[in-house]
């Protein structure tokens, strides 16, 4: 029976936990920050590299390595911008951290600011998340009032400010360079890389963008050491992971698991199986942009590497489960409609491709599908992969290709029913 492994959620799962600064301090809060203040920035970067921490926003890029790319000696300020845009369909894990244990995340952010020499960090929270924005603002205010933030970090360190910045409703702003354009006060258009943000990011200064959950891991890593963190999960997949389980399961929710858990156990043990005695039809394992798995394919380790090997990805660790009664054509229509709504319109393959794919699937739903259109849909999906400035094109292309391959018969059935 799979159970949760509590690292990030150890306070949240305690029903008596008081999330205020006072409550967080009682649980040993800020010992890691104190420790980090005694360390050289390079030592924090090395420790993070050694811990094997990989970004929790979707790409899984090694965090310590990302920090080491920061341009040095430019004479410009350096910035840490936290990506709290959380808008990949299915994903609702970061909000748990921001709502229910904001100080753990903020401590991690402060440690990370020390690592890259940042004196003013920004937290870009998606605009709809007013409850999270209020929770963070209250927590940041507590930190200023207590003298932890401000002119001298913890009363003895360098100057450090943190600002919570609300977005305004645009999925694409979760892409790090679009997020930077957005926080600069512009339309959120992804940038052509290079230059990478580590060289030219926020206001053309060296910038690192990290996800909330990634930063929240730092207090544990500094307190317990790289080896302990690494011991949760298999080689190259260190640490626990927050997964957002949704759709047709008896117990949807956000759970913390080791990265050697089996996807099947996540669905049946933690999620309590499929409601109403229905059979499982498929699982979207890592946010709307990951390739769908059929019921026969879910006996797989839920880790970055194992899912990549299975031809899909862990992405933002959002698992969406659907039962036998779900119409796969309609489901793909929902996914593609999302991407077509959220395309920033900058690159032709994505702006046009997402729209045309949506129209073709609509044809099937209206009973006007045929074999040629099925092939065309598959091809339109393929034409979006790897041909755009950011990964939104890929994010729409991959589910299209997976659904039209794995559920091709359903597209044909819709068409036969209409005839």
């Amino acid at each position: 029976m799979l159970e949760e492994t509590l690292v990030l959620f150890r306070n949240i799962r305690n029903s008596d936990y008081d999330k205020s600064l006072k409550g967080y301090k009682k649980t040993g809060g800020f010992t890691a920050l104190r420790k980090a203040l005694e360390m050289q920035p390079g030592e924090i970067v090395q420790l993070t590299k050694d811990s094997g921490l990989r970004g929790r926003g979707g790409a899984g890029f090694p965090t310590g390595l990302k920090w080491s790319f920061m341009a040095k000696g430019t004479g410009k300020p350096t910035y840490l911008v936290c990506n709290a845009d959380e808008s990949e369909p299915g994903t609702c894990k970061d909000r748990e951290l921001m709502l229910h244990d904001p100080h753990q995340f903020l401590e991690g952010m402060m440690i990370s600011c020390l690592a890259i020499g940042c004196r003013h960090g920004y937290i870009y929270v998606r605009g709809e998340y007013w409850p999270s924005i209020k929770s963070l603002n209250a927590a940041v205010q507590e930190l200023y009032d207590d003298g932890i933030l401000g002119e001298k970090l913890l009363g003895k360190g360098p100057k450090l400010d943190l600002t919570v910045h609300p977005g305004a409703g645009a999925y694409i702003c979760g892409e790090e360079t679009a997020l930077l354009d957005s926080i600069e006060g512009k339309r959120g258009h992804p940038r052509v890389k290079p230059p990478f943000p580590a060289v030219s990011g926020f206001n053309a200064c060296p910038t690192t963008v990290n996800n909330v959950e990634t930063l929240a891991c730092l207090p544990f890593i500094v307190n317990e050491g790289a080896e302990v963190f690494k011991s949760f999960g298999p080689e190259n997949n260190a640490g626990t992971h927050l997964i957002s389980l949704s759709g047709h399961v008896n117990k949807p929710g956000v759970y913390e698991v080791r990265l050697d858990a089996n996807l099947k156990d996540i669905i049946y043990d933690l999620g309590g199986g499929i409601p109403n005695g229905k059979k499982l039809k498929g699982v979207i394992p890592g946010g709307a942009s990951s390739s769908v798995l059929t019921a026969a394919e879910i006996d797989v380790t839920y880790s970055f590497d194992a899912l990549a090997k299975a031809g899909t990805m862990m992405g933002s660790a959002a698992i969406m489960v659907f039962d036998e009664d779900t119409d796969a054509v309609k489901l793909l229509h929902r996914i593609v409609r999302f991407f077509s709504h959220e395309s920033c319109g900058q690159c032709t393959p994505c702006r046009e491709g997402t729209h045309w794919a949506r129209m073709i699937i609509r044809d099937f739903l209206d009973g006007n599908g045929n074999e040629r259109k099925l092939k065309r849909l598959h091809r339109v999906g393929g034409n979006m992969i790897g041909t755009t400035v950011c990964a939104l094109g890929d994010a729409c292309g991959m589910p299209i290709q997976a659904f039209t391959t794995k559920f091709a018969d359903e597209f044909r059935e819709v068409q036969a029913l209409a005839a």
Binding site: E86, E184, S246, L331, H341
Partner: protein, 162 residues
């Protein structure tokens, strides 16, 4: 003219950023909230002046993001999510139910401006689907009965404020 409270909030926001344009999105939120939930051409001009950008730039920005409105929303603005997880658990049916109850369609205002309804993409409440946002608050694991009770409550509140 912006109210003194709004101006104070804007000054505070500006102090948090290296250049004034950076504060554009948060300032637009503050100004919109102070103006019953929508922006007017006059307000855009004023914000453009504050952030030292052209009015065209501000128009470009507000047309990019879904949360800025140019039309007055209802006192209670309902955002019903019909994205993937919400859709799997009845989000579309919930939207239909709201439209029926309020005798309106998504994108419109009902009950003499008490309610407005919007169909939205993922709002990040996926494990608690289906979800609805009313103004700034999330209402989760909704169903038609819970929604009716919520509408009744809001209607009473709306009348009390009127």
């Amino acid at each position: 003219m912006l109210a003194p409270d709004t101006q104070k909030e804007i000054t505070q926001l500006l102090s948090r950023y290296p250049i004034k344009r950076n504060a554009l999105l948060p300032i637009l939120h503050v100004v919109q909230k102070a103006n019953a939930g929508y922006l007017t051409p006059e307000l855009l001009e004023e914000v453009a002046g504050i952030c030292e950008v052209s009015q065209t730039h501000v128009e470009g920005v507000i047309s990019f993001y879904t949360m800025y409105k140019l039309e007055k929303p209802g006192k209670f603005h309902l955002q019903v999510c019909t994205c993937v997880p919400c859709c799997l658990l009845g989000g579309e049916e919930l939207l239909e139910h709201v439209e029926q109850q309020l005798d309106t369609h998504a994108g419109h205002t009902a009950d003499d401006g008490v309610f407005s309804v919007e169909e939205v993409e993922c709002i990040g409440a996926c494990s608690y689907a289906p979800a609805v946002i009313v103004n700034e608050d999330y209402h989760e694991q909704m169903n038609p009965e819970k929604l009716d009770r919520l509408l009744d409550k809001l209607r009473t509140q709306g009348q009390a404020h009127a």
